[in-house]
């Protein structure tokens, strides 16, 4: 178990990890059923479908039906895992996720790919900035965002057995590697990637690597950042949030998501409810729609870079 961050992107793209892991999970458990809405070729699962149509079902471009079928499979004793792009996995079938899955007490695992600016050239229609807010609002749900390939593999195996509605947000490309392959992840527990006393950056997904880059930039100035990978957005790890605030007195939350209803709000709730005196900033998408372009351009455009984190830290220390 080690933190291996050096700023270079992982060589294996997460799409391949997702496809191979999903097939391996299905091979290990006859009750697992993978459902996709005609984007298997984008998720690395097309071969799985051809090889094992009993456990990999292509539902066509009909997400509402797919979510309902998944809920029915759960009620019939199966372990459904659903994938499509994040916008279609949440906004497009929200009531089905809410009623047929969660309200009815069924266990459905939803994997929504290409969060926020990661959707890049697919543009604004394909760019979920509010998926975590929607899924957080569903009672008893679990919401997670993947920041690393080893994490994706580990959490996919864990989520297979998870009860209730689980939403996992993940990018199909790759981010800078953070963890060794044998790293252990506990759902609901944040991971401290580096300790520091000047300020704490609590981040998820894409923004974890940006936070590590920001920490490297500030180190030269004698500013020591604590960086926390909060891969479980709900239930939030209150303990680590409060500890981070007490240690540093300054908390920046960074997320590739609208600042309304995401990780920033979850952390702010925890801090306010605990009554911890702390300075606080959110780095995220400020109440805006998505748009098209290369990911680095979009990160600049929406303020989702290491430089934006540095700026937010400087403002409160």
């Amino acid at each position: 178990m080690a933190i291996i961050y050096d700023g270079t992107p992982e060589k294996r793209v997460y799409k391949n990890i997702f496809g191979e892991t999903m097939e391996a999970i299905a091979a290990s458990d006859a009750d697992v059923v993978y459902l996709d809405a005609d984007v298997m070729n984008s998720a690395g699962t097309l071969g799985f479908w051809k090889r094992n149509p009993r456990q990999a079902i292509n539902c066509g471009i009909a997400e509402a039906n797919m979510l309902g079928v998944a809920a029915g499979l759960s009620a019939g004793g199966k372990k459904p895992c659903v994938h499509t792009f994040g916008i279609f996995a949440t906004r497009r079938c929200y009531d089905q996720a809410f009623i047929s899955a969660a309200y009815a007490g069924n266990s459905v695992r939803i994997f929504g790919s290409d969060p926020g600016v990661v959707a890049a050239f697919n543009g604004g229609t394909h760019m979920p900035f509010e998926d975590m807010a929607l899924m957080r609002a569903i009672p008893d749900s679990t919401v997670m965002e993947i920041s690393d390939g080893a994490m994706l593999t580990s959490l996919m195996w864990q989520v297979k057995e998870r009860q209730g509605l689980t939403y996992v947000r993940w990018g199909r490309k790759s981010y800078p590697a953070l963890y060794s392959d044998d790293h252990e992840f506990v759902i609901g527990r944040g991971q401290v990637l580096r300790d520091g006393s000047s300020a704490a950056v609590i981040a998820c997904g894409l923004m974890v690597g940006e936070a590590m880059a920001a920490a490297a930039l500030l180190e030269n100035e004698g500013i020591n950042l604590r960086v926390v990978d909060m891969f479980t957005i709900k239930p939030i790890d209150r303990e680590i949030v409060i500890e981070s605030a007490r240690k540093t007195g300054a908390v920046v939350v960074a997320e590739n998501h609208n600042t309304i209803g995401g990780l920033g709000d979850a952390v702010a709730d925890a801090l306010l409810e605990a009554g911890v005196p702390v300075k606080f900033r959110k780095v995220g998408v400020s109440n805006r729609f998505g748009s098209v372009g290369p990911q680095p351009y979009l990160q600049e455009h929406y303020g989702l870079t290491a430089a934006n984190i540095v700026e937010a830290v400087r403002a409160i220390i």
């Binding site: 059923v33 039906n65 009620a75 019939g76 199966k78 459904p80 009623i99 047929s100």
Partner: protein
């Protein structure tokens, strides 16, 4: 049950449903009554179920996608002994196990939570798929309203069930011709529902949904169809077989109090009495 017993069962479902809704004084009575005969056929011996063991994993399942017909299902379940008859009077009371719309987490014998129209189609398909994977020969029955067919999800499900060749799924369309705001013709004319499902590749029959013998025969014919899901369009009357309810123009959700309630209960009691006094095989 034989046909006479099924008809008695249906009459009891109607009586208990009217009584249930009469306690609160309002409810979705019209669309509950129009499926009473079908429920009596399904729960009257056709479905492989065990009231003493509602969670039996090899059982046949029923999804009342038009979840507002919950009170009719509760009547059938109570009569079969899934829970005490006294529960029926608690419909929609604080803390009840019997809410307006079916809830699998609250009510023994309810196989799927419904109420958001269209969604039961997909969840029933999921149940039927799971049964097929298990290979025990279990079936899923699905009841959908004609108004409910306005929902796009119904048609997504229709495509998918056909693609999956889901022949252990039998769907009933309660074609009572009315939805909340008026007739289906006025609000959203579904045209020829049977032709639509046939065009989606389903095995389709259209029958009199008020005749138990005809319903039973149609379900057996549906079971014989291989490699395709089956659809049975039930021509029914909203508020069926309770004249005072049938006559109300907008009878999706009605007030049922005072003399009107007493008259409806009396009519159901008399209909049951006549059936009970009829001779075996008559």
């Amino acid at each position: 049950m034989n046909i006479r017993e099924i008809e008695i069962f249906a009459a009891r479902i109607r009586l208990e449903t009217v009584r249930q809704i009469g306690v609160r004084g309002f409810g979705h009575l019209g669309g509950a009554l129009s499926v009473a005969d079908t429920l009596a056929v399904l729960y009257g011996g056709l479905m492989r179920i065990d009231p003493a063991n509602p969670g039996w994993d090899k059982r046949d399942k029923l999804v009342m996608s038009k979840g507002h017909a919950g009170p009719a299902v509760y009547s059938a379940l109570a009569i079969l002994g899934y829970f005490p008859m006294e529960w029926l009077a608690t419909l929609n009371q604080p803390g009840t196990r019997l809410p307006s719309h079916c809830d699998m987490r609250l009510t023994p014998g309810i196989d799927m939570t419904t109420g958001s129209l269209g969604q039961g189609v997909s969840t029933a398909i999921g149940l039927a798929l799971a049964q097929r994977m298990d290979g025990h020969g279990a079936r899923t029955y699905l009841v959908v309203g004609d108004g409910e067919c306005n929902e796009g999800q119904v048609w997504e499900g229709a495509l998918f069930a056909r693609q999956q060749k889901l022949d252990n799924l039998t769907m009933f369309i309660d074609n009572n011709g009315k939805q909340l705001d008026g007739t289906t013709k006025e609000v959203m004319d579904m045209g020829d529902i049977a032709a639509k499902f046939a065009a989606f590749g389903w095995n389709v029959q259209t029958i009199d949904g008020g005749d138990a013998a005809v319903i039973l025969q149609a379900v057996n014919a549906a079971h014989a169809a291989s490699g395709v899901p089956s659809c049975i369009v039930l021509n029914t009357v909203k508020g069926a077989k309770v004249s005072i309810i049938e006559k109300i123009e907008l009878n999706h959700h009605i007030q049922l109090e005072g003399e009107m309630r007493d008259s409806a209960v009396r009519e159901c009691e008399e209909a049951l009495e006549i059936l009970l006094n009829s001779k075996e095989g008559a």
